[in-house]
């Protein structure tokens, strides 16, 4: 590798490290964004908006696919695993709709 390329890679590495350090508070939660978004919005789509599973997957899907989803119609609960992290959403009542459960490590 020539000196120029090494310098660019080093600079890139330092920039990324600084970005991560400065934004660590938000970045450490990043893996939960997808399972949380999917669980909450799927729950709402299904139990508040009363659509079928196929429609809800189509509405909620993102670029990164989820790993698993457990849809429990009997207790109106959805749990999603994505980016190796889990999140659940629970339907509460006819006027309160769905709510995310506590974030678990």
């Amino acid at each position: 590798m020539n000196k120029c390329l090494k310098a660019i890679l080093l600079l890139l590495g330092i920039s990324i490290s600084i970005f991560i350090a400065v934004n660590w508070k938000s970045l450490k939660f990043f893996p939960w964004v997808l399972p949380s978004y999917y669980a909450k919005e799927f729950c709402t789509c299904r139990y508040v908006l009363e659509n079928d599973n196929e429609f809800c997957h189509q509405l909620v899907r993102q670029y990164i696919p989820i790993q698993t989803i457990i849809i429990d119609d009997s207790r109106r609960h959805v749990e999603v695993k994505a980016l190796w992290h889990y999140r659940g959403a629970q339907w509460i009542s006819p006027t309160e709709g769905c709510q995310l459960e506590e974030l678990k490590n």
């Binding site: 934004n23 938000s26 964004v33 949380s36 978004y37 009363e50 659509n51 189509q58 006027t95 709709g97």
Partner: protein
């Protein structure tokens, strides 16, 4: 049936402006080129559920003089189904806040934390808190995504109030879902839990006979005003009609004209961007023009100057033109920027003007 027969029937049915009871009066505009233009724009033939391109309207409802004059849905949506409002929720929530001020429970000058931040700064999106309002295309450092989905999701009020102050309160306009949720958090601190829980229904949804409303909460039971109201298009149209009628519903003043007038004042810290056609922000609403800030040009040329709207992610909108007693609801799933609000407004107003003229020129009509 011939257009003339349709028109005659429609004219017979059209009377003085009305307000809906349990159900809306329906008096659909007879088909015409202008009415079809609304359908062509909102519901293009090419729209697909699988492909996320172009205008993808789920519901379009137009109310004129208190009657439904245009209504169309895209399967599986129907008149009975609820839809996301996304940020249209902010504007509806602000009406509830207005009711609370009218009742003396809170006041817009309330100081909500130790920095001198006032409720009106939150309402006018100028809290000055450090905030990033980006969505699915830029999720990594987004504050709104953290608030709704990760470290803020259990207690959105606490998440907001723990943020650092970037600008002095009231000095810098920045659209923020955090500011909007902080308002409902503040309200939750101002009344007992059982009263707070029922309050929006007692003050707004029940008097307007809106039966489909769902309002999601965080784990503190705070209403998520920024994003999570759900209702049918017809129910949202009732909110629009209330605004069109200056807060009056049948013979009752649901919300004061004082609050509604203030809702039309452009946020003091806001500076319009040159060449932008975005509506101007007020206290949780958006306007085309504010006569009290005449130096700010109308946002959309050719659109009525008294236009006031609520707007949400992926194309949700509630447009109100009080001078025409016109209300337009659109629910959608737009995933790109194909939809042009200015064109939408002009298409509908062209049709409304046409049918207004038809109505006024007909001697059998008792209007005007």
């Amino acid at each position: 049936m011939a257009f003339e027969v349709h028109l005659a029937l429609w004219l017979l049915l059209t009377r003085a402006p009305t307000t809906p009871g349990e159900e809306w009066d329906t008096s659909l505009w007879p088909p015409s080129r202008l009415q079809e233009a609304i359908t062509e724009y909102a519901f293009p033939q090419s729209a697909s559920r699988e492909k996320r391109h172009g205008r993808r309207t789920d519901a379009a409802v137009v109310v004129h003089g208190g009657r439904v004059v245009y209504e169309k849905y895209w399967e599986p949506y129907t008149a009975q189904k609820r839809h996301h409002l996304w940020s249209v929720s902010k504007s509806v929530a602000a009406l509830v806040t207005g009711c609370a001020e009218d009742s003396g429970l809170i006041h817009r000058t309330d100081i909500v934390d130790s920095t001198g931040l006032q409720l009106q700064h939150l309402l006018q999106w100028s809290s000055g808190k450090k905030w990033s309002e980006t969505y699915e295309y830029n999720p990594v450092t987004s504050s709104v995504i953290a608030m709704l989905y990760t470290n803020g999701s259990s207690n959105m009020g606490r998440f907001f109030f723990s943020l650092p102050q970037e600008f002095a309160p009231g000095t810098h306009y920045r659209y923020s879902s955090g500011d909007s949720n902080a308002i409902s958090y503040w309200l939750s601190q101002k009344m007992p839990a059982e009263k707070y829980d029922r309050y929006p229904w007692e003050k707004l949804f029940a008097p307007l006979q809106m039966s489909s409303v769902v309002w999601e909460r965080d784990r503190e039971k705070t209403w998520i005003s920024s994003s999570y109201l759900y209702m049918t298009a017809r129910d949202l149209a009732r909110i629009g009609l209330l605004v069109s009628r200056n807060g009056k519903w049948k013979d009752k003043q649901i919300i004061s004209s004082r609050w509604l007038d203030w809702s039309k004042r452009v946020s003091p810290a806001y500076k319009p961007k040159p060449l932008s056609t975005n509506l101007h922000p007020t206290a949780q609403w958006w306007v085309n023009f504010d006569p009290q800030s005449p130096h700010i040009d109308p946002a959309i040329q050719g659109a009525p100057t008294d236009l006031i709207a609520a707007q949400g992610h992926w194309g949700q909108s509630l447009i109100v033109v009080p001078s025409r007693d016109l209300v337009v609801v659109r629910f959608a799933d737009d995933r790109d920027n194909s939809f042009d609000l200015g064109k939408w407004i002009r298409t509908i107003i062209d049709a409304a003007e046409f049918y207004e003229q038809m109505s006024q020129s007909d001697p059998s009509s008792s209007r005007h």
